[in-house]
Symmetry: C2
Subunit: 426 residues, 2 copies
């Protein structure tokens, strides 16, 4: 394709404005260094006159995305409207009109990726999605090109800055979840509706994309374990600290014999580990390859300019004629998700129990009956109430056994809900 490209931008929200600004600011540098000459010729947004962080000429705007997807002068369409319905219409219309597409939309790819990539293959165009996982970090390109000589063994990381920021504040200041969330909203680290960030859906979309890239299969979100961070309390963070752990929002996947164990959940990670050191709104992803060993990537996982950096890198690579190797395949890649509940890990469990003799014994017995052995215990006298926390760290055990044992303990022994978290492998 020619090095001079006309770009249609669909969605001029935060990231869209960042893309406009990066191209405005670094157009000359990009042309000199890569040969790609970038020009945004049209912008579609439902609210052209909304107040924006950067100045964009009103004349570029339209409210109808079809004016972009149908414009024969436009080479590359950048889709930044989010969601999975209109965004899918936009991407498919662009691809069918022979336009390359660049998107930061992880939900779109997780839900409609096969369809979009199959249409792109049919129409001979590229779909760039570097910005869809870990924001500005060049993770997708690294996984599919830099590490292309490797069998990928595992992918693990912190892929949601909002959750990480909230757990970080809770940990640093002993804030309860609700206060930390309110704070994250005030500081601009959480959106007005942060449900997808907090309940693990956003991380799960990203993990599904990484699994598809690493092993070929685009799983459904219902096929992997997805748990949010809201059950975590400052007390859990403090107990975990006493055992030498921090609590982090993890997304994790590993393969063995064609079976992928994957999940998103708040987990205990060693306090001295690199993931424990990832604070605030940062992301970090660790990939293990059979030749390269562990490689870790760290940076801003969201935000106007970091995300725009990734979007524009895709535009440049497409303008230079190479769309990259990263694709979501229509077939299953020969891997399948591990059956739910079959995955083993160590568990942290906090039970709130009556401060009476024998409670710990009963809890241990209930766990032991399911074959779950205890690694360590903290039991301390309660403060004001008669309930005291009994905190248990188990050795690796199947999730299903742990779930059954906890349900039994909740029903028959403590009569209260327990908090159960996974302990991440090193």
């Amino acid at each position: 394709m020619k090095n001079k490209v006309n770009i249609g931008l669909i969605g001029a929200g935060t990231v869209g404005c960042g893309v406009y600004e990066v191209i405005r600011r670094n157009r000359k540098l990009i042309r000199e260094q890569t040969g790609a000459s970038l020009s945004i010729t049209r912008i579609a947004d439902i609210a052209p006159s909304r107040k924006r962080p950067v100045k964009i000429p009103r004349s570029l705007f339209t409210t109808d995305f079809r004016e972009i997807t149908g414009d024969p002068e436009i080479d590359i369409v950048i889709e930044l409207i989010g969601g999975t319905t209109v965004a899918a219409e936009v991407a498919l219309a662009a691809v069918r009109n022979g336009k390359h597409v660049v998107t930061a939309n992880k939900a779109l790819l997780a839900h409609r990726g096969k369809e979009i990539f199959s249409a792109a293959a049919k129409n001979g165009v590229h779909v760039g999605f570097e910005a869809s996982v870990a924001g500005g970090i060049p993770l997708i390109r690294s996984l599919k090109e830099g590490l292309c000589a490797n069998k990928i063994l595992s992918v693990q990381g912190i892929m949601n800055g909002t959750s990480n920021y909230i757990l970080h504040r809770m940990s640093a200041e002993g804030m309860p979840f609700a206060a930390a969330l309110a704070d994250a909203k005030k500081e601009g680290y959480a959106e007005a509706d942060p449900s997808f960030d907090i309940n693990g859906t956003d991380s799960a979309h990203k993990l599904l994309i990484l699994i598809a890239l690493a092993w070929g299969g685009l799983f459904k979100i219902s096929e992997i374990a997805v748990e949010g961070i809201s059950p975590v309390t400052p007390a859990d963070i403090s107990h975990a600290g006493q055992f030498g752990y921090a609590i982090k929002p993890l997304a994790s996947a590993k393969v063995s014999g064609g079976v992928v164990e994957a999940g998103v959940y708040p987990a205990l990670v060693g306090a001295g580990s690199q993931l424990a050191a990832v604070d605030g709104a940062f992301n970090a992803v660790r990939i293990e390859g059979d030749a390269v060993g562990p490689v870790m990537f760290y940076g801003m996982g969201a935000g106007m300019m970091p995300t725009a950096s990734a979007v524009v890198s895709d535009v440049v690579m497409i303008a230079r004629g190479g769309g990259g190797v990263a694709k979501i395949a229509a077939d299953g890649g020969g891997v399948k998700p591990a059956p739910r509940g079959s995955v083993s890990s160590g568990f942290y469990a906090r039970f709130e129990a009556e401060d009476t003799p024998g409670t710990l014994g009963k809890i241990s017995t209930a766990l032991g009956k399911r074959g779950i052995s205890i690694r360590s215990v903290i039991q301390k006298p309660g403060a004001s109430s008669k309930k005291v926390p009994v905190v248990i760290m188990t050795r690796p055990s199947p999730e299903s056994a742990m779930k059954k044992a906890v349900a039994e303990i909740e029903r028959h022994i403590t009569k209260t809900s327990a908090v159960v978290l996974r302990i991440a492998e090193d």
Copy 2:
């Protein structure tokens, strides 16, 4: 270029064997995932029958590299012999015969990069060098492709695993330098002749390559500050620790107004920082871009399989027809190195002084005369000898002023050599 490529491997040492093994083991996976079909058809090495960690058919070997660089059937030449003389002959002969070249040789690129890239441009072939900096970490591709939308502001990291391993052992176990070095050799983390690793030359070569990629100018090694780690003692590590710092082997470059401040030296980094957490033989490089902010890359910076992972990634990208954007330009890129001595930083200085009243006062006066102000001091009573350490942390000051002040203190006040280290910016 066709997806099926014939590869000639020149140099079957540790990394060469790794390349052979990666291709043997993952050939099918690589073909399925990228379309590139790789075949090593000839290997040149001066010692074909040497004992090797992997089994290679004797029939592949020749002792004459010209049988590879002159073979019309070979598409890509992998140069892994090291050094800058025969390696340059190999690279130039291959390029002039229309063959793409992949190399892990940082010294070669730092010294002869302009010549090799200019010959490659003339002959329309690619030169891949992902493995030349930070081993298996896909750093060069990330810098030039993933971050191509950014003005690069700074590059800083730990780029030599041997130095990092030695300082790590000195720090963890209070070992002196010589013992840690002996240990590194025994463990395979240092070569028989480790001078280039220890005196900073290896890191400097890598930094020169990154500067050339970030800002266009391939400087000479004499144009940047290069200091080795051998002056560092366990006492310095312990003093630095008391001030809240670790000592790490840093390579660092930043640009301002077309002037690049660059250097390689052991430096004090904040004990809680991510660079401080990089232990053993690992590398980590932090790149700051104007859009993406700080991004960090971490992994094995050397070794048979990690380095091979990077070499093979270049081979695959060339086989797919894209050699990548990374190039060392023949022109200066419009940047120049900062004059030596002009760079400011905070300094750590340990003077061994007679335990007499007024010594600290004299040292402070000598520093003050040169405009260097003191941030903190540790002075403790000496143990057996009459000399006591006076350890000073200064505020940022020009290197030249610090050097003059220290020379004066050494000559007229302490009559012994001081240890002076830089304090890294956050």
